[in-house]
């Protein structure tokens, strides 16, 4: 049962709590201390409440993050706390400059996970320094901070990052399939790449996944062209089921209302609704239902 306190006692207790916040900051020295275990330091990091983090707590978290001698799990915990404080702490915005500087300090860190997470944060900030380093790594693999597919993904956060030329090179000479896929995804916002996507969509030697990316990119860049190619693919009996299904969906979702009057196409859709794989049949039926034949 809690004791009832008089107003004077209540105020004294409140004052003493405030004093604890101001003076009882042992956790700040613990998180930075090289003599403490990783577990103790991580616990000290988590003692910072993101919603109430003040300037000195944020500065301590940044110090831990940039301390290359600290155990990686402590540094990752500091990064996580900073990320949470960024959204929750009113004091954070005025520390933004120091935060960005701290992140830039660790983009070269030997730990891959930390590097990737930090570069991810900077890329979302459209940070010119991070973009430079990522582009540099795509052009010269000795300088790469991340695998090319990840670097391309991060550069995709900013359409103005000037990653299109290097992405086009990667599409031509991909180091691996994932990199090619990411390069194509990046180029899906580049109006000048529409002709390339038309070629990819028509290329039966490409994998279905790559051709599907081509279809999605064309829908964003040149929707009329996608509709024309989708119709041709649906009509073509030698096309794969995957790409046929993609094209049926494109016609159903984004096609012009007069599709229903295209007798040749609708006859073909009728055929597909009873033959072929189950997924093609389903998509063909959906198209037929929408255009009410």
């Amino acid at each position: 049962m809690s004791k009832k306190l008089g107003p004077r006692k209540r105020s004294r207790r409140a004052a003493s709590k405030g004093a604890t916040k101001a003076t009882g900051r042992g956790y700040l020295s613990v998180m930075k201390s090289g003599k403490k275990s990783a577990a103790e330091r991580t616990k000290a990091v988590s003692a910072v409440s993101p919603a109430t983090a003040d300037d000195s707590e944020l500065a301590s978290l940044m110090a831990v993050l940039t301390d290359k001698t600290a155990p990686i799990r402590v540094r990752l915990a500091a990064l996580q706390s900073l990320g949470a404080a960024r959204f929750a702490s009113p004091a954070f915005a005025s520390n933004q400059g120091d935060y960005i500087a701290a992140l830039r300090k660790v983009v070269d860190d030997p730990d891959h996970e930390l590097r990737q997470r930090v570069l991810g944060i900077l890329a979302r900030e459209k940070d010119g320094y991070a973009q430079n380093r990522l582009l540099e790594g795509l052009k010269n693999k000795d300088k790469a901070l991340l695998p090319p597919e990840k670097a391309l993904q991060l550069l995709g956060y900013d359409v103005h990052a000037n990653a299109y030329p290097v992405a086009r090179e990667i599409v031509q000479n991909p180091p691996n399939q994932q990199a090619k896929r990411e390069a194509l995804r990046l180029l899906a916002a580049d109006a000048a790449s529409a002709p390339m996507f038309e070629k990819i969509l028509q290329d039966k030697n490409e994998s279905s996944e790559i051709r599907q990316i081509g279809a999605a990119a064309l829908h964003a860049l040149k929707p009329d062209s996608l509709q024309a190619h989708a119709r041709a693919i649906v009509m073509d009996p030698s096309e794969s089921d995957d790409i046929k299904q993609t094209c049926l969906t494109a016609l159903t979702q984004f096609g012009p209302p007069q599709i229903g009057e295209d007798k040749t196409l609708m006859d073909r859709v009728d055929q597909l609704s009873t033959r072929g794989s189950a997924k093609v049949q389903d998509s063909a039926r959906e198209l037929r239902a929408k255009y009410k034949r």
């Binding site: 004091a91 933004q96 400059g97 500087a101 459209k126 010119g128 320094y129 973009q131 000037n162």
Partner: protein
């Protein structure tokens, strides 16, 4: 001419930086300023971050030689609308190299401070392309605060707003508090000076608006095909002939909210002003995208609709079907690209006359909706009263900066009358005999006529002088003043009345006509 040709990306950033340094070392300010034109080849095919670095570096180089009137507009533009920390910080620093602080700078600095709140970043100006990681480095907010301190008491108009930022969370870090307090103390300082220049609008700010007389709406622009927000295809004459049109440029992927998003929102407000004056059918509006490859009719419709743009046959959002080249040339757009994507553009708004010619433009700084409407109304009135317009006729649109020619000529009538008043017995005899024939002798003898005419002459001279101050071109005022002196002198026997007449007339006409009449091309900042 600078050794930068072809696509900008063929020249490395390091080479551009070296070029900028050498221009600064040899004091070639005009060439440096030329590098700030958005359409300069150095920006072609660069990423947004590279363009920001380069422009920031040019601003810093300009700072070393002192910021001139022509450079001022670029500096203030960056402070008002820039969101990239590096060029904003460079602009704030560069402003301190202007000849003297001005009250006019204070709102720009306050705006920059607000824009950078929550986006402050540590920066290095030591070498090109350097990014700071040291917390002792400078930052845009620090540079802005130092510049506010430099402006000092002239910034008192923003003091209350500035002090309100002191306790606003997220604006000032502990590190920046001393800079903030120094700025506030400097503004509060009583320097005892009553500087007449403190409130004068710097010359550089007057280049925001300009008239044009060399726009040609025939040739390739007439063939340009557009697609509007409904997907309808129209030619340039279909859209822009028959009524004046207010035109702005934008693109939906612009990540600077203070530019394209705000521009289209403001155009929506312009439409509301036109509706309020029942002018929606008389004056059209158009927003044209810089990014026609990406901005499909659906995107245009959605982007405009969400920003209050109302569509009809007089009010459209457009994309050029065959690309931007012809439009870039016709409007002399301040924009550059990497691939088909914009990497940098300025704020720009135009008024086209009923023949589709560009009559005037607002560039770089935010335009005022009411002022833009007033300009378009002036062009519309002229269209209604005198169609078809001659290339130079729009220059006499009766706007504050652009008074009607006939009004100016009317102002010189008192000078003519005074010059013709009789000055000697022979004149009297001649005039009286002539007036006697016409029955007007009583007019010439009226005792009040001479002081009234002298007063009217002085008003004409004062008007020419004020207009000259407004435009920065004083020749007309000087001629009108000399003419007035000669006419008044002729009252005391000097035989200079005819000269006075000629000078007064010449001064009045020169004052009325804009500079375009005397120069082959208008001076458009960043284009010449």
């Amino acid at each position: 001419m600078l050794p930068v040709t072809g696509e900008g990306a063929e020249t490395s950033e390091a080479e551009v930086a070296a070029l900028v340094d050498s221009l600064a070392a040899s004091g070639r300010q005009a060439d440096l300023l030329d590098l700030l034109r958005e359409d300069h080849a150095i920006y072609d095919q660069r990423g947004g971050a590279a363009v920001s670095r380069m422009r920031g570096w040019v601003l810093l180089a300009l700072e070393r030689g002192g910021i001139t009137q022509d450079a001022l507009l670029f500096v203030l533009e960056e402070l008002e609308s820039g969101l990239d920390p590096y060029p904003v910080a460079a602009a704030a620093r560069a402003l301190r190299a202007y000849a003297a602080p001005s009250e006019a700078f204070a709102p720009f600095l306050l705006q920059a401070l607000t824009n950078m709140a929550g986006h402050d970043e540590l920066l290095s100006f030591e070498a090109y392309g350097e990014y700071a990681v040291d917390s002792s480095a400078t930052s845009p907010i620090r540079e802005i605060l130092i510049t506010l301190a430099w402006v000092g008491p002239a910034a008192k108009s923003v003091l209350a707003d500035l002090e309100a930022l002191r306790d606003q969370p997220g604006v000032l870090s502990r590190r920046l508090r001393p800079d903030f307090e120094r700025a506030v103390s400097a503004i509060c300082r009583l320097d005892g000076k009553d500087d007449d220049n403190c409130c004068k609008l710097p010359e550089g700010l007057r280049h925001v608006f300009s008239w044009r007389s060399d726009s040609d709406a025939s040739g390739s622009i007439a063939q340009t095909l557009f697609e509007d927000q409904t997907g309808a295809r129209l030619t340039f004459p279909d859209i822009f002939h028959g009524r004046p049109t207010i035109v702005v440029f934008f693109y939906t992927r612009c990540d600077n909210l203070l530019k394209c998003s705000l521009t289209v929102t403001k155009l929506g407000r312009v439409q509301a002003l036109l509706r309020g004056r029942d002018l929606s059918g008389t004056i059209g509006t158009a927003a044209i995208t810089y990014d026609p490859g990406f901005d499909s009719p659906e995107r245009l419709r959605s982007f405009g609709g969400r920003r209050g743009f109302r569509f009809d046959s007089n009010h459209r959002m457009l994309r050029a079907v065959d690309g931007m080249d012809t439009l870039r040339h016709h409007f002399r757009l301040g924009v550059n690209f990497t691939g088909s994507l914009v990497n940098r553009h300025r704020i720009e708004a135009y008024v086209l006359n009923a023949q589709g010619r560009v009559v005037c433009s607002f560039e770089r700084l935010r335009w005022d909706e009411q002022e833009l409407v007033d300009r378009a109304v002036a062009v519309s009135n002229e269209h209604e009263s005198a169609a078809p317009m001659s290339p130079a006729s729009h220059m006499c649109a009766p706007t504050p900066d652009h008074p009607n020619c006939s009004a100016a000529l009317l102002r010189s009538l008192p000078s003519l009358a005074l010059a013709f008043l009789p000055k000697c017995p022979i004149c009297w005899a001649a005039y009286l005999s002539a007036f006697g024939l016409a029955g007007l002798e009583s007019v010439a003898r009226l005792p009040w006529i001479q002081p009234v005419l002298i007063g009217a002459i002085l008003i004409n001279v004062a008007s020419a002088w004020l207009r000259g101050r407004g435009t920065g071109r004083m020749a007309g005022a000087y001629l009108a003043g000399l003419g007035a002196l000669a006419i008044i002198g002729s009252r005391f026997g000097a035989p200079v009345a005819p000269l006075g007449l000629i000078l007064t007339l010449a001064g009045s006409v020169l004052t009325a006509l804009d500079r375009e009449l005397r120069l082959p091309r208008v001076r458009t900042v960043g284009k010449e």
